[in-house]
């Protein structure tokens, strides 16, 4: 009994089988069958630890269908950490059977490698803007590719012409400020939304902060954890934490719900990082709770609703701050949607690996959005942004997706 998973036996036995997780699990809502709800997964992981089931193809299939959204945990009377259990069980699968091949390439080669990201960004930009994309879509060539790429290709974000990282040298960062903050550059801001990076800097500087951006940070490690690659995740965490701490900043800021949640858990992944998590704040949390939120005077017109990212609401307990930002913006009308905290089905690469299921989950979100009839959906997670943008265009709903901080930046 030295397996890392074994120490979670007690956690699995805390499940009292009440079934309350059925109410909230988005996967269960679509599948309806017991293996796919938290209660079933917890039971299977218990039997796995006890040696009554093996890492069979069926078990892998079941464990793959979890969004790591944490809704079950939040609704579970004894707070059984199903999300954590699933990730640990996936870690066991990866340790014993390795990663599925195409993923191994992405997780080992692409995401941790900054120059590879730059290259892929350029290629993607070329691909999207050269007409080549239309050609591929038109000829049905994509259909011939595995993983029904023809449908999923729409999930690929519009890559930026240049990564944010490559612009860092040219940014006129202010050199003084009351508070020194280190801004953690997320993969998505870097590759897809450099304008978000610019908005974050503008807003922080407007709140009297000196922003430093360590260019060498890499992927936060979440994708690796999601697929059970704990080793690489820990290496990334160690490197990122070192670079962020070296800045001597008072706070470490993230504009990505997922990265922020990961950073806040670095101390559990790497020994010797005690106290690191205390410095980490989501940008909205920081603006509202640390520096006194102050919006500018330029109005932003329209109705906005808010989609709460799993990794920000349940993951970090940040629920009020982003809404307060939206309410503080002059001219803007904030309207809460039903089930704002329900997962959009993006969940990292879940939408690529399980496209049809992910779209069903997304459809429920789009229905909630439609009822509010907004011009904009604000959300604090680039992965949710991609997923929502894909769904909105799929259903031809003319609604844009923005980060609350981008709207705030427009007021100065």
């Amino acid at each position: 009994m030295t397996e890392p998973l074994d120490k979670y036996l007690d956690e699995t036995e805390r499940c009292i089988r009440c079934g309350l997780c059925q109410k909230v699990c988005p996967i269960y809502a679509e599948m309806g069958s017991e293996p796919f709800v938290a209660r079933g997964k917890v039971r299977l992981i218990r039997e796995l630890i006890k040696g009554n089931v093996e890492l069979s193809p069926r078990l892998k299939e079941i464990l793959a269908l979890c969004l790591d959204c944490g809704a079950c945990v939040a609704n579970c009377p004894p707070s059984v950490h199903t999300d954590k259990l699933v990730l640990e069980a996936r870690a066991k699968i990866t340790a014993e059977h390795g990663l599925p091949l195409p993923l191994a390439g992405a997780l080992h080669g692409f995401l941790p490698n900054n120059s590879a990201q730059a290259l892929v960004t350029k290629m993607a930009y070329f691909y999207q803007h050269s007409g080549f994309q239309k050609l591929l879509r038109g000829t049905g060539l994509l259909k011939a590719l595995p993983l029904d790429l023809d449908k999923k290709e729409g999930l690929m974000p519009e890559f930026a012409p240049r990564t944010f990282r490559s612009m860092l040298g040219e940014l006129p960062l202010k050199k003084d400020g009351k508070i020194r903050v280190a801004y953690f550059l997320s993969c998505m801001t870097n590759m897809v939304k450099p304008e978000l990076g610019q908005a974050v800097i503008k807003v922080l500087e407007n709140h009297g902060c000196e922003v430093v951006i360590p260019a060498g940070v890499q992927c936060c490690g979440t994708p690796h954890l999601a697929y059970g690659d704990t080793k690489v995740a820990a290496q990334l965490a160690e490197n990122n934490a070192r670079l962020l701490l070296e800045t001597g900043a008072d706070y470490i800021i993230s504009d990505c719900a997922t990265c922020g949640a990961a950073l806040k858990k670095y101390d559990k992944l790497v020994p010797g990082l005690e106290g690191f998590a205390d410095k980490v704040r989501d940008i909205a949390e920081f603006l509202v709770n640390v520096v006194n939120l102050r919006a500018g005077e330029k109005p932003v017109d329209g109705v906005v609703t808010y989609h709460e990212p799993c990794h920000l609401g349940r993951g970090q307990g940040v629920t009020a701050a982003p809404r307060e930002i939206l309410k503080a913006i002059p001219g803007l009308t904030f309207a809460e949607m039903e089930d704002a905290d329900r997962c959009c089905g993006g969940a990292g690469t879940f939408n690529v690996m399980h496209y049809d299921l992910s779209m069903k989950i997304l459809d429920r979100k789009l229905d909630s959005i439609r009822k509010v009839n907004p011009q904009m959906v604000a959300t604090g997670c680039p992965a949710c942004t991609m997923q929502l943008e894909h769904g909105l265009s799929r259903r031809e709903m003319p609604i844009s997706v923005v980060h609350p901080v981008e709207l705030l930046a427009r007021t100065y």
Binding site: G19, S33, P35
Partner: protein, 461 residues
């Protein structure tokens, strides 16, 4: 294990993707909300009545046990396949077939989740009152099979009071239809009543027609706090005696409130021995009239404070507190045994006293709450360890609680059913002639005893 021929036939009936035989799938259908478990041999997920009829024929010819299953949230071991065989998972039969706004009825398949049904009919301005607190997980089929109730039972009754018609597949695979959309119906035996609460032993319910009522125009909530639990319990009968039937009349004891406050605080006091949470509904004028009377009765019965919720938000908050009671208890114990002994309403003070006495005698924590307006108590026994000595005390306490309820003219189960969990008490409540009649009915309907064998009075059968 079932032989290959039978599996092949099942596959022919429901399709390959709806027959599950991996150990992983079987494990997931081996349990319900009790600690009891047993592995089935196969899980099938049919989508229509004809498939179910074919499965039952096959099972009957081959003497294979079949256990229907909805949300798997029952608290009596009802959906555990103790004799192996087939678990019939009904989650694919989840359509609401019709909401008839002329006749105020709705027809649905058994796998519809109770809360989804509530929402759908309320959209039409209609109301389906039964509200088991598991409504977000339980299914309509499971509700009928357990004859589920809930807080609104005081005024509105329980599931069986709303079933007008049923389609049921019998153990030998025949499709039976009883009742329909008429409010009155006295043709033949009342089989609807027989199927309601039959715990999956007499037939597979495949379609249900419910009677609905108009959605009440208004509702208001009152929280009354008592220094003495006994006063709170006496108030329950006091209110009923005044010919006021609130929508809900829920009692909570001090321990329950303490646990709720430490879990999801909603502002219940920690120093009151008991509280009543009362809701009245009806037309706006009627609600205002009733709430004043309720307030008055509480005060004259010794309430130290009566708070009327100012608005819907405040009321929701109080009810959220009440609904989190089970969770609050679950966090504080290894196991919560939620019992549902029920007594005539006038005996509520007596059973409350008895439960307190029994808890003290066996040194157990038994926070008690209940849908007391209908005499339905929920003493929740918090089991702290797997220690044999403690489990013995728990068993003895449960025995004594049931004995007390029966002595007060009550019953073993108000709403959770007998299943496996309460079998040993059946001959405390019924004499052998009564049990023999139940056996005779079961034998006539299911001669080969294939449908949910071993449950209710069929201990070990």
């Amino acid at each position: 294990m079932l032989n290959q021929q039978i599996l092949a036939n099942l596959t022919k009936i429901v399709g390959k993707e709806n027959v599950f035989t991996t150990k992983e799938d079987l494990i997931c259908y081996s349990y319900d909300s009790t600690p009891i478990d047993h592995m089935p041999d196969v899980v099938v997920a049919p989508v229509k009545t004809e498939e179910i009829a074919a499965i039952m024929k096959l099972a009957n010819e081959n003497r294979i046990p079949v256990v229907p299953r909805g949300g798997g949230t029952n608290l009596s071991g009802g959906s555990v396949p103790v004799a192996g065989g087939i678990v019939m998972a009904l989650h694919r039969m989840n359509k609401i077939l019709e909401i008839d706004t002329d006749n105020l009825t709705a027809t649905a398949q058994p796998g519809v989740v109770t809360a989804a049904f509530h929402q759908a009919v309320e959209k039409e301005g209609l109301f389906y009152p039964p509200d088991p607190q598991s409504m977000f997980m339980s299914t309509l089929g499971g509700n009928v099979a357990e004859n589920a109730g809930g807080p609104r039972g005081v005024k509105y009754g329980v599931t069986k009071d709303y079933v007008l018609g049923l389609e049921v597949v019998s153990p030998n695979g025949e499709v039976i239809r009883v009742g329909g959309k008429t409010i009155k119906n006295v043709s033949g035996y009342d089989l609807i009543r027989l199927f309601a609460g039959s715990e999956g032993t007499l037939g597979i319910i495949t379609e249900i027609t419910f009677r609905l009522v108009p959605l009440p125009e208004a509702k208001r909530t009152v929280l009354a706090l008592f220094d003495r639990l006994d006063d709170a319990a006496r108030t329950v009968s006091g209110i009923i005696k005044q010919r006021i039937i609130p929508t809900t009349l829920e009692l909570m004891d001090q321990k329950t409130m303490e646990l709720i406050e430490s879990f999801k605080p909603v502002g219940f006091p920690l120093d009151a021995e008991g509280a009543l949470l009362i809701e009245v509904d009806g037309s706006a004028g009627e609600v205002d009239r009733q709430i004043v009377i309720v307030e008055e009765i509480c005060k004259t019965s010794g309430a130290r404070e009566v708070k009327v919720a100012a608005d819907a938000a405040q009321a929701t908050q109080l009810w959220t507190g009440r609904r989190s009671a089970f969770g609050a208890m679950a966090r504080n114990a290894l196991q919560v045994l939620a019992e549902d002994a029920t007594v005539p309403r006038s005996k509520v003070p007596d059973i409350v006293r008895e439960i307190q006495r029994i808890a003290a005698k066996y040194q157990l924590t038994i926070p008690t709450l209940g849908h007391t307006g209908d005499g339905n108590m929920h003493p929740n026994i918090l089991v702290q360890s797997n220690d044999e000595e403690e489990l013995k005390r728990v068993d003895a306490a449960i025995d004594e609680i049931f004995r007390a309820a029966l002595d007060l003219g009550g019953t073993l189960s108000g709403e959770h059913g007998v299943g496996l969990a309460k079998q040993k008490y059946m001959d405390w409540e019924f004499n052998s002639s009564s049990l023999n009649m139940m056996r005779a009915i079961k034998k006539a309907v299911d001669p080969n005893n294939i449908l949910n064998p071993g449950k209710i009075f069929l201990r070990g059968e």
